[in-house]
Amino acid sequence: MLAQLFRFKGGVKPPTNKTISVQEPIGQAPLPARLFVPLHQSIGGAPNPLVQAGDTVLKGQLIGGADAWVSAAVHAPTSGRVLAVEEHVAAHPSGLPTLCVVIEPDGRDEWIDRRPVDHHSLPPERVRELLRDAGVVGLGGAAFPSHAKLTPAHAVTMEQLVINGAECEPFMTCDDLLMRERADEIVRGIAIFRELLAAREVLIGIEDNKQEAIAAMQEAVLRLAPDYRVVAVPTRYPAGGAKQLIRVLTGKEVPASRRSTELGVQCFNVATVYTAYRALACGEPVLSRIVTLTGNVERPRNWEVWLGTPMREVVALARPRADSSSFLMGGPMMGFEIPDLDAPVVKATNCIIAGSPGLFPPPPPEMPCIRCGACAEVCPHELQPFELYWFSRARNFGKTQEYYIFDCIECGCCSYVCPSHIPLVQYFRFAKSEIWAREREKQAADAAKERFELRNARAEREQAEKAERLARAASARSTEKKASPEAAKAVDSPPAVAAGEPAAAAASDAETIRKAAIAAAMERARAQRELAQPKNTDRLSAEQEREIAAVEARRAVLPATAEPAGRAAGTGPPTGLQRGE
């Protein structure tokens, strides 16, 4: 069992505070009166809703189908009636709403037809599809769809499969309890992943402050799969980061630009492996997860909570003390304050911590950076947070990228040690989301430019075709005229009309008809509007009156602008906008 362990650079040792929530076994949280199941719970494409208000659903029924390869399905956690598919506040730092399926449980908890499958008998692609449709995502907190990580690289053989039971965040114990109580299922789940990846070796990394979990896992491994290795890793935050754990167990360093599969190693959380096992061997999709309720509460404990349960009801199980002022989702290092307790528990909700002014005192004032370098010493990715901070603060995003801001995993070690109490991670998050926003804008602009160019090309082509048609018609007519000049004279009573002009005349005719039609439609629309909208114009604010005046003025010029000639003088691109030639 003795294995050579490696070290990752940096890291901190905050007080773990884990013992308070491991005194009791995992409890089963009751079903709430309403479940708000968000459709978008994982990284990747947002699943499409497959149900509508009024439908009855069974427990485990698919309610959101995976939208893309990197996307995961969502299921009804219990049987009941769909009340609505509507926007509801999300478990997200913004507190903005997201599309949720609102289910009223009927209390019968009636399962769909569960079909356990034997993964040996199925091709690996099919197993990956099954995992996607069972909604298996990374439960460590990132919620990345697991099936997308289960494709081995072509060129590299998979050396190690790393199973992450490190759980380095303070306060958090959900993985610890899961390993203690459900080690067998975890080990069986590992077998599935190992086969899919054809991994040579399995390493289960657990921080050495979880002796019971290590013992339970070792016991299960001995019974079920003696060639797996359970490795106790030194307790040091962030040992549970995927890249850090891979580094500690295998000595491999995963560069930011590459995936770990390319180095022949892949990492999964224990809870993910557990749900994958349930999905295949029992046919049960991911409907619940284990959530640690701890912090400033009377009864810290781990609960198995149905996804979509409002956090308010979950928190009530732990009986928060009266002075609880805030609630964190995730750990104290990487988590965020829940803006609204109506937000539902999702697949990424691993821990809810009740905070009080005593437990998490408000941060002291931010002082200037003294460039002491403490942050660089603890950064597990060997970045220079003080430089990143300097340039993020100055909004010099190009420079932040030069200092590799996207390698930052936002672990919070730098903020934790900063003697000036600078919220470094907040600056990095700000810089990252600004860079992403710019990237999106740039892409939108490029696409718009492409469409604009295509449109111009189309307009030009149409114009050329039209000119050609007219020329052809004119030449045809002139030959006709030559053939029977008397007849032509007899027909064309106004002799001034030249060869090319009949078409133009017809066009202007069409123009007048069209204009008349538009005028009539405008009348109709106006009448419709007047009918539809009550004229409550007796008491108007100055601003409203100004607005009305502006609209009236615009209406007055409308006839002028409706004419193509008037529009040609406008600001638009000149090519092909005018219809009547």
């Binding site: 999300a90 998050r429 469409r451 629309a525 209406r555 409308l558 638009g572």
Partner: protein, 180 residues
């Protein structure tokens, strides 16, 4: 005096001839600067700068005919980038900077006249004659060119609402009240 004139004239002729020859011999087609300027512009093709589209504006900047602060959709950010690229001073924007908007068609009022479709420079409006029109929201650049042609005033500009996908982490702000 005569020698001085002669030598200076000689020098001028020699250098002038060399430069003239070189400008013909080493002529380069196209202007790479226009491409670079255009890459910074937001491609709304809105014409608010007074030029019919982003590329003509880029050409005008490159030729020194237009100032760099005429693009309201690009905002101050765009002005700053242009100033950086061209080594010019940053100037305040000519027009007011507005939040990003998109056009919305009131589908009840729309009469299907297709005028807005013709006005849209980026093909973001779908519809056919006498059929209801609608705006493909992700494609709309907010150029406002479709608002004026609409004969029934059913198009309005609305600021883009914040949602989970475009939400951004805010700049960390320290509360002075708490410090005191």
């Amino acid at each position: 005096m005569i020698t001085a004139l002669a030598i200076m004239a000689l020098g001028a002729i020699v250098l002038g001839a060399a430069l003239g020859y070189a400008s013909i011999r080493f002529k380069v087609e196209g202007d790479p600067l226009v491409e670079k300027i255009e890459a910074i512009l937001p491609q709304t093709q809105c014409g608010q700068c007074g030029y019919p589209g982003c590329r003509p504006y880029a050409a005008a900047i490159s030729a020194g005919e237009a100032d760099i602060n005429l693009c309201p959709p690009g905002g101050m950010d765009g002005v700053r980038k242009l100033a950086d690229l061209l080594g010019r001073e940053v100037k305040p924007l000519e027009a007011e900077e507005k939040p990003k908007q998109i056009a919305i068609i009131d589908e009840q009022t729309c009469i299907g006249c297709t005028l807005c479709i013709q006005a849209c420079p980026v093909d973001a409006i779908v519809g056919a004659a006498k059929q209801m029109h609608t705006i493909i929201e992700p494609l709309c650049t907010g150029c406002e060119l479709c608002v004026k042609p609409c004969p029934v005033e059913c198009i309005s500009m609305q600021p883009i609402a914040e949602n989970i996908d475009n939400w951004k982490w805010k700049y960390p702000v320290f509360e002075i009240k708490r410090a005191a």
